[in-house]
Every structure is written in structure tokens, then in C-alpha cells.
Assembly symmetry: C2
Homo-oligomer: 205 residues x 2
DNA sequence: GATTGTAGTATCGACTCGATACTTAATGAG
DNA sequence: CTCATTAAGTATCGAGTCGATACTACAATC
């Protein structure tokens, strides 16, 4: 029976509270949360014949803007590959939740649009039963969590070299004009509804 | 284009800071973290021919105590079914990471033990590359996260009706004696090493 | 105009996971 | 003590995931 500590078991000494927190503790907790959350997603999707990944893709497409509705964007969001995503989208299309149409500017590109059924299902699936209950039960916890998790996600995305996929209006290219909003990257006008959507080209201010 | 809000989109008014936090914000963030984390686990396991679930199972078995090393316990931990877990364990056994032996008290039960190779691999996989870097970079964040996440996980487990799978020494059955520790449930003596392991029968104090 | 890069699809094989149908063994009620 | 019930585990099927590889079509660049 070897008693070697696991690799990467790092103790971090906090300068503020002089408490020793070890990272493998946070890791184990977070991984367990992920397991439970993924299972919740599975149970939510199951009655509708959807896998967890399909649920994620559906929800992404219901929230992304017109620059981000392509298979490659979905692949980036899911941190997966275009091959795998192509499979997933094929299933969603067969189930009538999704329609493909060619992009008129770039004919290599496929544009994805949820059907009415797809949007309706996304609306139903958006509520993760377990989390919802926990968060409503304790408002201050929800608040602190929102801040901490956003910070963590930002750091993870930066280190992993992933795109940020933030909401349009939080982007550094987002500008306000006299009669509305505008994207500094595409120079196109944006509606208030647009400004709340997720964008593939999002960059933190 | 319907503009109905997603079901379960709940705004929580914090009594402390008078800030409006919406739960779907937290949810979206957390689901994205999970996606990235799961992918990290996939990438970690891939060089060794392991799927994310196999990694989780391996890590669990490397950290659980002698009351918790059965297929059913693994299924509970993974919030999965015994059928699925049976498959997963069969693969791990074939890869020589795991050995099965019958339980002598209850002959329906199978006891699982990692082989030397299994323990060594668990040691290597315990470090989730992305998280490790983020947490080491900011100690106070790691500290706050540890607290928040444990709170969240506890609430999720309670609402979902899952076991807590906490460390032995944090259990309400754990007692200190003159010459060591003892489990109030099994009445058996516990070594200091035992007291740090995960237990299936764990209950919060 | 040839080369290079990007978006997407098709196919293969190992694995996941729910569902279902079993076997074996412990438990409990009469 | 026996029979019904319950629990632990396995086997099998089918739809789906996902990495790997090979491919097509189009755009961009030089």
C-alpha cells in the first residue's frame, strides 16, 4: 500500500485568512457537482429522447446570435470536434428540432436554426430541476455563487484557450449609439434582443 | 419568434445586498464549467484509454473505504445504475486496473480493489490540469470556492436524495477514543488513514 | 493558378447508458 | 422452516457519443 500523495495535490496558503485550502478538495467537490448536474441533464432530456450533449447543443442554439449559429461554433462551445458535433446535429435535425440552411456569404458554412418545436423544447429544458431549487432556497448563496463561478469560468477559459461565449452586451466590441447598439467587429446594428444573446466572437472588456 | 422567458427563469431578490441575481445565469455558467471540466477529464483519460466515467470510477475506488468498494456503491456515487456500472467495471477489470473478489459476509456482494497499476493511474489522473492552474493562481479564490461549492453540493445532494459520500472523519457516526477512532455504525476501529477516506454510509453531523 | 486553410460530412470501433430479463443470495413474515 | 420479497450483480440490445481518419467543397493567400 503506497502512501504517496496524488500528483498535483497542492496546498495553497491564503495570505488573507491564513487558512490552508487544498486544491484537490475543490476539485473533488466540483467533479461531483458535475456528475450530479450531468445526470440531472440526462434525466431532463430522457423523456424527450435527448442525450445530455444534445440538450447542451439545443440550449446553446436557443441562446446564440446570428454570428454563432454554425456547427463549428457549437463544436467550440461544447469543446468538442466538428466531426462529433456533426453527428449530434444530424440527430437533432432528424428529430425535427433543427433546420440547416446554407450560408449565402460563405458557401462552406451551414447555418442552424431551431424549429418551433426546437425552441419550445429548449424552453422546457432550460430549467435544471435540482439547481433551481437550491438557488431559490438561498438567495445570498446564489449571489455569491454567481460571482465565484463566473470568475472561475473566466480563468478556465483563458488557461484552456477557449472562447468566452459571453453575452453580446458584455463584449469589448459592443458600442452604444444614439438610436441603439452596434457591433464594432461586424459594424452591424444590434437590437436590444440581440445584445442579450451569446456570441462566438465575444471578448471580455 | 416567441419572446417567452424560459421556464424556471427565476429572479431572486437578495435581502442582504438588494441585488437581483437570476438563477439561470448561475445555471448557464455552471453547466459550461461542467462541459469544460468533463472535457478536461476526457483529455486526461484518453492517453490511457479511459472514458470520463471510467476516470471517475477509478478515482472513487482510490479514495473510498472498505465499506464502499462495491459496484452498487460506485453506481450510487456516479448517480448511475448498477447495470451501466457493471459494464464500466468490466472494462476496468479487463484493463488490469481492478480486481473483483467475493465478499465473505454477503455472498451476493462483489468487492472491488484497484491493482497496483490502477492505484498508480489514479494518482496520475487525480490532477485536473485546468483547475489546478486556476486555483494555484489565486489562493483566496480557491478558499471561497471550496466553501461555496461544498455548500452547493450539500444542498444538491439533499434535494436530489443522494448520499453525501463525505470523508469518514466528518461523519456523525465518527467517534474519537483514547487510542484512536471508531465508527459508530459498524462499531469497528478506524486507522487515521481510514478516517480520511470516502464512505458510502456517510451522514452529515 | 496552385497551394494552403477552413467548414462540414461519412465511417469505423470502443464505450456509455436506459431498459429488460435474468441469477443468486439474504431477509422477513407466516 | 418455508415461501415470498428484496437486494446485488450480470448479460444483452439498441441508439447515441466521441476520437480518428479520410474525404469533399469552398475560400483565401501568395
Amino acid at each position: 500500500m503506497s502512501m504517496l500523495p496524488p500528483l498535483g495535490f497542492v496546498k495553497v496558503l491564503s495570505s488573507r485568512y491564513h487558512l490552508v485550502v487544498n486544491t484537490s478538495d475543490v476539485t473533488a467537490t466540483l467533479e461531483r457537482i458535475c456528475t450530479l448536474l450531468r445526470n440531472d441533464a440526462r434525466q431532463r432530456g430522457l423523456p424527450h429522447g435527448l442525450q445530455p450533449v444534445q440538450v447542451e447543443a439545443l440550449l446553446y442554439l436557443s441562446r446564440c446570435n446570428r454570428y454563432s449559429d454554425t456547427p463549428q461554433a457549437v463544436a467550440d462551445f461544447l469543446a468538442s470536434t466538428k466531426g462529433t458535433v456533426s453527428q449530434t446535429l444530424k440527430v437533432l435535425e432528424r428529430q425535427g428540432l433543427l433546420a440547416k440552411r446554407p450560408d449565402l456569404q460563405d458557401r462552406r458554412v451551414v447555418r442552424l436554426r431551431l424549429t418551433a418545436a426546437g425552441r419550445e423544447l429548449a424552453r422546457k429544458l432550460a430549467a435544471p430541476a435540482v439547481l433551481e431549487q437550491v438557488l431559490v432556497a438561498d438567495a445570498t448563496r446564489a449571489e455569491r455563487l454567481a460571482a465565484e463561478l463566473k470568475g472561475l469560468l473566466g480563468a478556465m477559459q483563458e488557461i484552456g484557450g477557449h472562447r468566452t461565449f459571453g453575452a453580446c452586451h458584455t463584449c469589448r466590441f459592443f458600442t452604444r449609439e444614439d438610436n441603439g447598439f452596434r457591433c464594432g467587429l461586424t459594424s452591424e446594428q444590434l437590437t436590444p434582443a440581440d445584445s442579450k444573446l451569446i456570441c462566438r466572437e465575444h471578448e471580455t472588456k
